[in-house]
């Protein structure tokens, strides 16, 4: 603490900027398998340390080790790898489609595939995610048809949302995927409300809230923690810390707290930090939290530690604010490669099978894309009608909207 008699403003800055050498030396990474696994019904107070550590399952060699290992069967792990590969392939095609002018906007998941793909496998039918724009893995792993995702992205005449929403702001009630909001943070408290409703009705369904590191600063993050803590709502409060909020590094939202998970401590909510690039760890921790919630143990906060390897969106160019090589330097590696290595080490996978799977997935994605494009793209082919624009503002169209629709001549 400086001993000036004049005050000065502290404005946090990332260690490096474009031109500098990437530096993640400040990121403390515990050995895989080294973090304890408390019982699912342990008191929140007994596990405050977990908010300052990182739960990891796969070690450098690709072995699954420690108390959090073993939450999935071999087949499930292979399926998990395919989901992540599918999400990555999907992203690539859609990025390209956006560059080709087939849609206005896209947001990718590069480097973060494990989180939403693994998490979804901890949920059951009837549970509800309240996702942000960067959790399409919930849909992919949940078996939602890719072609419907693409129809939404293209705003074409088969778009399940009738062209009303920005690309990637999906909604899929049937698949436990709440309508994504363009406004950050708002859905965190809605997820808590949904979980409260389930508890009020003595139901069995739980919910999952999603938010980015940057958006934890939003007001509704606080509302969610207050309500979840007070009413012990059966909700999993996920924070995806991918180190960046557009051009703003996580230090601006995190401030002086060591971690985002620490935010839970002030509410008596168990707060676990997990290696978000470790599919097995994400699943194990999510399962722990889901079990706890289902047993009426209330909320759990999970900070998924990862890195946004791509641009924020197709409107963004990260080379303007961070070193290009930073993503390669990220010490937690690539989620797809790591799970591939794990399976290969265990003789369940191989280079050969991987290439084959890649080809199959590519073909699937391309087939879906072809089908979607038959329904049109943003500027060509079929599109939702102007009539659709006037529907669903209310359950029943009021007189003034009918008048306007008539004026619009549709």
């Amino acid at each position: 603490m400086p001993m000036n008699d004049r005050l000065s403003l502290h404005v946090p800055e990332p260690e490096v900027r474009p031109g500098d050498k990437p530096d993640f030396s400040r990121v403390e990474i515990p050995e895989a398998g080294s973090v304890r696994r408390p019982p699912e019904d342990a008191e929140a107070e007994s596990m405050r340390d977990l908010a300052y550590s990182i739960i990891r399952v796969m070690n450098r060699d690709g072995e699954a080790v420690g108390p959090w290992a073993g939450s999935l069967s071999d087949d499930e792990i292979i399926e998990g790898l395919r989901h992540m590969m599918t999400l990555r392939a999907f992203d690539q095609r859609m990025l390209m489609a956006q560059r080709q002018g087939k849609t206005s906007f896209y947001m990718q998941h590069l480097g973060e595939e494990a989180i939403s793909c693994a998490f979804q496998k901890a949920l059951k039918p009837g549970d509800m995610n309240f996702p942000t724009y960067r959790q399409a893995g919930l849909l992919i792993a949940g078996g939602y048809p890719m072609v419907d995702m693409m129809n939404q992205i293209y705003s074409n005449d088969a778009d399940p949302l009738k062209g009303r929403q920005l690309p990637v702001l999906y909604s899929a009630r049937s698949h436990g995927f709440f309508s994504v909001s363009g406004n950050l943070g708002t859905q965190y408290i809605q997820a808590v409300g949904w979980a409260m409703a389930s508890a009020i009705r003595q139901g069995t369904e739980i919910s999952a809230a999603w938010i980015g590191d940057g958006s934890t600063a939003a007001s509704d993050f606080h509302a969610a923690l207050v309500f979840a803590s007070t009413y012990r709502a059966p909700v999993i409060l996920n924070i995806v810390n991918n180190q960046w909020a557009i051009s703003t590094f996580q230090g601006i939202a995190r401030g002086g707290s060591g971690t985002f998970a620490a935010r839970g401590l002030g509410f008596g909510i168990p707060a676990l930090r997990v290696d978000g690039n470790d599919y097995l760890a994400v699943h194990a921790v999510s399962q722990w939290a889901a079990n706890r919630a289902r047993r009426n143990g209330g909320p759990t906060l999970i900070e998924h530690v990862t890195y946004r390897a791509g641009a924020h969106s197709t409107s963004d160019d990260p080379s303007a604010y961070r070193p290009k090589e930073e993503s390669n330097a990220w010490p937690l590696g690539d989620p797809v490669l790591r799970l591939k290595n794990h399976l290969t080490l265990r003789g369940l996978w191989s280079e050969e099978r991987h290439r084959q799977a890649e080809a199959e997935i590519r073909a699937e994605v391309i087939a879906a894309q072809k089908e979607a494009e038959r329904h049109g793209t943003l500027h060509a082919g079929g599109k939702p009608s102007a009539r659709d624009m006037f529907e669903d503002v209310y359950a029943e169209m009021p007189a003034h909207l009918k008048r306007q629709r008539q004026q619009a001549g549709v």
């Binding site: 309240f130 909604s171 406004n183 997820a191 979980a195 009020i200 509302a223 007189a399």
Partner: protein, 337 residues
């Protein structure tokens, strides 16, 4: 038929709704054990239990945000914001989330919920217990906006709002809670007891949303108004002897334009009256509509009488409030023009 104050009528509406439909839940600041600072939820926790009627933390965005999640699940939340002046932290959830849920999800998710809030001045509440923010809701498509002026309407409209499939902002003129206040603040308080609209059926009934009421027939001028100002308008008509037709909108959005234009075509004159701040108030919309639809019937411009463009002051409350003197004077000016 029992006689009810507006508070009792509102309480009865929630009671009837909770009884009929166990998806109806009620929560908000101080609404649980205590029954609300205006006592509108008194007894509901005792009757329906703590999971159907409960206290909420002082987080208006939390209250509304949680209600949205509950509505999406399938409940029908009816929440209280302690004063309309405190709804602003929830404005994001109300306008960006609740109002657009049906639309943006192509009706996969909907938001059948009611947000009740006491509105208006006249209780020396100063600038943070007196506001009338209806225009901030009428500009938001996807919301419905309701303002009752009598116990009967309050109950019937509130039940209709709870049963509505879309989010409803239910503004309760707090100065009407205990009596039909006509703006004569210096006279003794009139209780509801003697008023015909205090005859309120015990059980279930609805006053449909979107329908205005003609509360006074007249031929000289149409006064379009709602809430407390309905009673002020009546007093002004009485006192000036000007034969005004008074339309109580009851629902502001969607609006019963038909009822307004029918009357203005008849009278040829129109005053729009509300307690909220004039500029960009809902009166602007009303005046714009009236001149658009009745231009060739109008003998003079539509006149707006409203609260001044200042915060609602404490000491100068009655200088601010558009009472019967101001309304009466404006009526006379209109007839002379």
């Amino acid at each position: 038929m029992p006689r009810m104050t507006m508070i009792e009528a509102i309480r009865s509406a929630m009671d009837v709704s909770m009884e009929r439909d166990d998806r109806v839940v009620v929560f908000g600041e101080d609404v649980g054990y205590f029954g609300g600072v205006f006592r509108c939820t008194q007894g509901l926790q005792q009757k329906y239990g703590r999971t159907r009627c409960f206290d909420a933390p002082i987080s208006e965005s939390g209250i509304v945000g949680a209600a949205i999640g509950m509505a999406a699940y399938g409940l029908k939340p009816c929440v209280e914001i302690q004063f309309a002046d405190y709804m602003y932290p929830a404005y994001d959830q109300l306008t960006q989330e609740a109002a657009r849920m049906r639309y943006r999800s192509n009706h996969q998710f909907t938001c059948p919920m009611v947000v009740r809030m006491p509105t208006g001045g006249g209780i020396f509440g100063g600038q943070t217990h007196s506001q009338s923010p209806e225009a901030l809701f009428t500009h938001v498509c996807g919301l419905k906006v309701v303002v009752p002026s009598t116990p009967y309407d309050a109950k019937g409209l509130l039940i209709a709002s709870i049963e509505d499939p879309d989010p409803v902002i239910f503004l309760e003129p707090k100065r009407l809670y205990n009596g039909p206040f006509d703006g004569h603040h210096d006279r003794p308080v009139t209780p509801w007891a003697g008023h015909p609209a205090a005859d309120v059926p015990e059980g279930h009934f609805v006053v449909p949303l979107g329908e205005a009421a003609t509360v006074r027939e007249g031929s000289a001028v149409t006064i379009v108004t709602y809430g407390t100002m309905v009673h002020v308008a009546a007093a002004a008509a009485e006192e000036t002897g000007i034969d005004a037709e008074i339309i109580d909108l009851r629902t502001l959005l969607p609006l019963d334009l038909e009822a307004i234009t029918r009357s203005v075509r008849k009278t040829g004159r129109c005053m729009v009256l509300h307690e909220a701040t004039l500029t960009s108030g809902f009166g602007g919309e009303l005046a714009a509509l009236v001149q658009e639809h009745c231009f060739y019937n109008l003998e003079g411009p539509v006149v707006r009488v409203a609260g001044w463009d200042t915060p609602y002051p404490h000491a100068q409350e009655w200088d601010y409030f558009p009472g019967p003197a101001r309304v009466g004077q404006a009526l006379k000016d209109m007839m002379e023009a």
